[in-house]
């Protein structure tokens, strides 16, 4: 794959891009079809990793870094932890086909495909979002902030308030999880279920305990 062989760099980018996106679609089909939750979580991790590769190719190195760390790392660990906690390995096969979700997703897809007709092609340098605002960041960052990584400059200064909001979001998630999971677990329902299986009429016991 000699880059000097006459093929412009842009073409190679586009070809690898197509290949990666194809893999992404395959993984998604797998996620839809697989019923084993452990496998689903692993496939979701692979999905994120592929997505990170695509982002690298599309020049979004910071985003790729984050997607790999968060999507393939943290998110997978949390999902595995949840699977261990809920002690459920297989998804139940639904007994009837649901039309509404299919309808909604097809409708959303139809609107998008229709809306894409007039969108500028991917990668064109004269798209509206390449000629307004963005050139300011690219040309002025050195004078305004003097930070080589423009993404950092935009993230921390030009749109610093968004990032403050982002930190607040993650803070909210932190205290939300603390609130939801820090209390003593109430596993009465599980116990009741088990007793029901054992002797059939056990569901009165916890009520009496609570009402006495």
């Amino acid at each position: 794959m000699n880059l000097d062989s006459g093929i412009p760099l842009g073409d190679w980018e586009a070809i690898i891009n197509v290949a990666l996106l194809g893999l992404l679609l395959l993984v998604t089909i797998g996620i839809i079809r697989v019923r084993n939750l452990f496998a689903v979580v692993m496939l979701a991790g692979i999905y994120s990793l592929l997505m990170a590769l695509v982002f690298t190719l599309l020049d979004a190195v910071d985003v790729a870094f984050t997607e790999a760390a968060v999507g393939a790392g943290v998110s997978t660990i949390l999902s595995l932890g949840t699977l261990a906690l809920i002690d459920s390995r297989r998804e139940k096969v639904p007994n009837r086909f649901q039309f509404v979700p299919l309808l909604v997703s097809l409708a959303a897809g139809a609107v998008l495909f229709w809306g894409m007709q007039d969108m500028p092609a991917v990668g064109s340098a004269d798209a509206p979002n390449q000629v307004h605002v963005a050139p300011y960041y690219i040309t002025q960052t050195q004078a305004d902030i003097d930070v080589p990584n423009i993404v950092t400059a935009v993230l921390a200064s030009y749109r610093g308030f968004d990032t403050l909001g982002e930190v607040t979001v993650i803070f909210t998630a932190g205290i939300g999880v603390m609130m939801l999971l820090s209390a003593m677990p109430v596993i009465g329902a599980r116990r009741r279920r088990r007793r029901e299986d054992d002797d059939g009429d056990g569901d009165k016991a916890p009520n009496d305990g609570g009402n006495a």
Binding site: G81, V147, T152, F161, V167, M184, I187
Partner: protein, 170 residues
């Protein structure tokens, strides 16, 4: 807690480098890819790896949940605090230029350095907190379930069942 020797030794070798890499990403974000958010996640990953290999209790001994929950709030306060400081210095909110009265560009540098530190702190602390909560929950549930199997009635000390619980204390 993992008893095998190989992962334990490997983890011991790896964790310092993971944490070091986290610090590198934190403070090199101006020049290359990276920044507070990525650094926080990497740092947390180091701690999580430690907890996975050496057990939750050991990890809690190294970084206590109390300390983590303080850091969760502190990171956000550092970030917002920079904003309040710029307000008090007469600039707009988060206008780091006013942090250095002679050279606004240097002020921007300083501001970005501090807020990225705040971002990294909150992100790392939140990730560790979430992991602690999930792992801690797993531990408690397992203990309760083993109680449950041994002696069914004793578990009532832990929980009255959801119906009674919904009504709350009198």
């Amino acid at each position: 807690m993992i008893e095998h020797l190989v992962p334990r030794v490997l983890a011991k070798l790896l964790i310092p480098f993971i944490l070091l890499f986290g610090l590198y990403v934190q403070f090199h974000g101006d020049f290359g890819p990276g920044g507070g958010f990525q650094a926080g996640v990497i740092f947390a990953a180091g701690i999580i790896l430690y907890a996975l290999i050496y057990g939750l209790d050991q990890a809690r001994g190294v970084i206590s949940p109390g300390l983590v929950s303080v850091l969760v709030a502190l990171g956000l306060l550092i970030y917002a605090g920079v904003g309040v400081a710029t307000l008090l210095l007469g600039g707009e909110f988060l206008n780091y230029g006013v942090l250095d009265s002679h050279d606004p560009v240097h002020g921007q540098h300083l501001g970005i350095l501090i807020i990225e530190f705040g971002v990294g702190m909150t992100v790392a602390a939140v990730m560790i907190t979430i992991f602690y909560q999930f792992a801690g929950r797993l531990k408690i549930t397992r203990e309760l379930e083993s109680d449950d199997d041994d002696e069914d009635e004793q578990a009532d000390d832990h929980a009255d069942g959801p119906v009674a619980d919904a009504r709350g204390p009198r």
